[in-house]
């Protein structure tokens, strides 16, 4: 309850700041438009206004302030403009329409999920290898860390082309990038998780003369669950970023990334913002969904106390 009030207050503050920020951000564009429409603007030349302070301009031309919240192609769209765009492109469009964000969201989501599945699977496998083989631990783990310093996002176009060249197209190149991004958090979390049983718990199984696979299935795997879920939540958000990035270079075909790009290409800021928000909402939903699964699984396992 208290939390709700706090969150709402913070949100309200953000919205207020946002509206306020629209004034200086958009005032120059608005004044230019007004000037073209024949309104009296001080100073009258766009060139003079170029180097002037935005706030001063807004004060001197206060009649133009409402227009800063209703521009067609604002530098910063007002919250309600984004909300209306979101509403129109989700609820009011047929979901099969290419103008529907639901359609684009679905395109991105399917790549995200495929990539996430690949990344998670590989990540878990690698983690199992690292935990069980000292060679892998010694030689591969440091490179897994170095691999994260490579700006994979910058390489996305090349990856896509290389995959094209071996005949892989469509959803898979995107999924590969999103798998690459989700893979690392899963490896790190899973290695930590599989190593989380303490020496005592391992010794206990040793006194039972348990085999390696028994140790894995009965101890390491269940013990790693909380770690796994924590890293899955990071991983899925990373996957979504990967899928979106993967959509950028393939050109504006379909997906939220393509939508972002097309918005940017045609200067449709409102469209950029609504695609951004759609992506964030999608990410929040995915993370939330994983959270629910986590709760359910851990509860069934008896690890969620109370």
């Amino acid at each position: 309850m208290k939390q709700l009030v706090a969150v709402l207050t913070v949100l309200l503050a953000i919205v207020v700041i946002w509206y306020a920020a629209c004034i200086p951000m958009n005032i120059k564009g608005v004044l230019t438009e007004q000037e073209r429409a024949g309104a009296e603007v001080v100073p009258p030349s766009a060139k003079d206004r170029r180097d002037m302070g935005e706030i001063g301009l807004a004060l001197r031309n206060s009649f133009a302030i409402p227009a800063t919240w209703a521009q067609d192609r604002p530098r910063l769209p007002a919250p309600h403009q984004v909300a209306i765009e979101l509403w129109e492109t989700t609820v009011q469009k047929k979901i099969t329409s290419k103008r529907s964000l639901v359609y684009h969201g679905w395109v991105t989501l399917s790549a995200t999920i495929l990539g996430f599945a690949i990344g998670t699977g590989l990540g878990i496998l690698l983690a199992v290898g690292i935990v069980h083989s000292r060679v892998m631990d010694l030689s591969v783990m440091p490179w897994a860390i170095v691999s994260q310093t490579i700006p994979i996002i910058a390489l996305a176009p090349m990856i896509i082309v290389v995959l094209y060249s071996i005949g892989i197209q469509g959803i898979i190149p995107k999924a590969v990038i999103s798998a690459y991004l989700s893979f690392f958090p899963v490896v790190v979390g899973m290695v930590k998780g599989l190593r989380s049983p303490d020496a005592m718990q391992l010794d206990l199984l040793r006194t039972y003369n348990a085999s390696n696979s028994q140790v894995f299935w009965k101890l390491r795997l269940p013990a790693s669950m909380p770690y796994l879920f924590a890293s899955l939540k990071i991983g899925i958000a990373a996957s979504l970023v990967g899928a979106i990035v993967g959509e950028l270079p393939t050109g504006a075909v379909a997906g939220l990334g393509a939508r972002l790009l097309a918005g940017s290409y045609y200067g449709q800021t409102v469209q950029i913002w609504s695609a951004l928000f759609a992506a964030a909402i999608l990410a929040a939903c995915l993370v939330g969904l994983l959270g629910l699964i986590e709760r359910a699984v851990l509860k069934r396992m008896g690890m969620a106390q109370r």
Partner: protein, 259 residues
């Protein structure tokens, strides 16, 4: 060679970054079948290390150690040990019954036999009816009893307990001590028991091994004159106090150098 556990000139040196640590030096000890042996001594004197050697969790660097005439590792593969650690160490994702089933699953008992044994040991440790609870739903004392039940569920000859009651309060501890004695009488297992508490050691054991650190060695082995039947009140008798006094003296002797 009637001993179940026999150590001769046992040595164990750990190589650490700060140089070698002599955890055990020249340890000689024979434990007979059915004995209740307590190990007592200041922190770091090698009690845990000795128990771990017996259970083949640690490999001695010198001397010989036999368990039932075999090497400890052979005995381990024959599943000769039930080991109880200081903390209960139950798996939080398994119910109490499932926790007790764990060794049975690993050792490949049939499902039906598993059920039966779980039922039996739960009764043995007074936890009947708690099988479906998760560990965190139980008090510390109950968890510790469940972990003892887990060690009892399969037919290990030897029960090794490393400060099993260290984390519990005195009253709960008294109660568990009483129950442990009863259990020992009923099953006739050989028990190795590490403790820091003099009264506990004296109350439980037929033989008390006093150890001292740097290097870890045995300074005294006291055979208890107390009868097998031991009510809690026995702790106020002069015999008890006499033994306790001897243990304390032994401890103090090996403890001179530090605090």
């Amino acid at each position: 060679m009637g001993s179940v556990i026999e150590a001769k000139n046992l040595d164990l040196t750990f190589q650490t970054n700060d140089g070698p640590v002599h955890a055990l030096k020249d340890v000689n000890l024979a434990i007979d079948k059915g004995e209740f042996v307590s190990f007592i001594g200041p922190s770091g004197c090698g009690k845990t290390t000795f128990l771990r050697c017996v259970a083949a969790l640690e490999t001695p660097t010198g001397g010989t150690l036999t368990v039932n005439g075999m090497t400890p590792d052979e005995a381990r593969r024959n599943r000769a040990y039930g080991y109880v650690f200081q903390a209960a160490g139950l798996y939080p994702w398994r119910t109490i019954a499932k926790n007790i089933k764990l060794p049975l699953e690993i050792m490949g008992y049939s499902a039906q036999e598993q059920e039966e044994r779980v039922k039996n040991v739960l009764e043995l440790v007074d936890l009947a009816g708690f099988g479906e609870k998760f560990p965190w739903q139980l008090s510390g004392g109950m968890q510790q009893r469940a972990s003892i039940a887990r060690a009892l569920a399969f037919d290990a000859d030897i029960l090794l307990m490393d400060e099993p009651f260290g984390a519990l309060d005195e009253i709960v501890r008294d109660h568990l001590n009483e129950q442990l004695l009863a259990l020992w009488a009923r099953t006739g297992k050989t028990i190795g028991f590490v403790t820091h508490s003099i009264p506990e050691a004296v109350y439980l054991s037929t033989k008390i091994v006093v150890m001292s650190p740097r290097p870890g060695r045995i300074t005294d082995v006291i055979d208890s004159p107390l009868p097998k039947e031991r009510p809690l009140d026995i702790r106020d008798t002069p015999e008890f106090i006499e033994v306790a006094h001897r243990v304390r003296e032994g401890l103090r002797a090996g403890h001179e150098d530090d605090v």
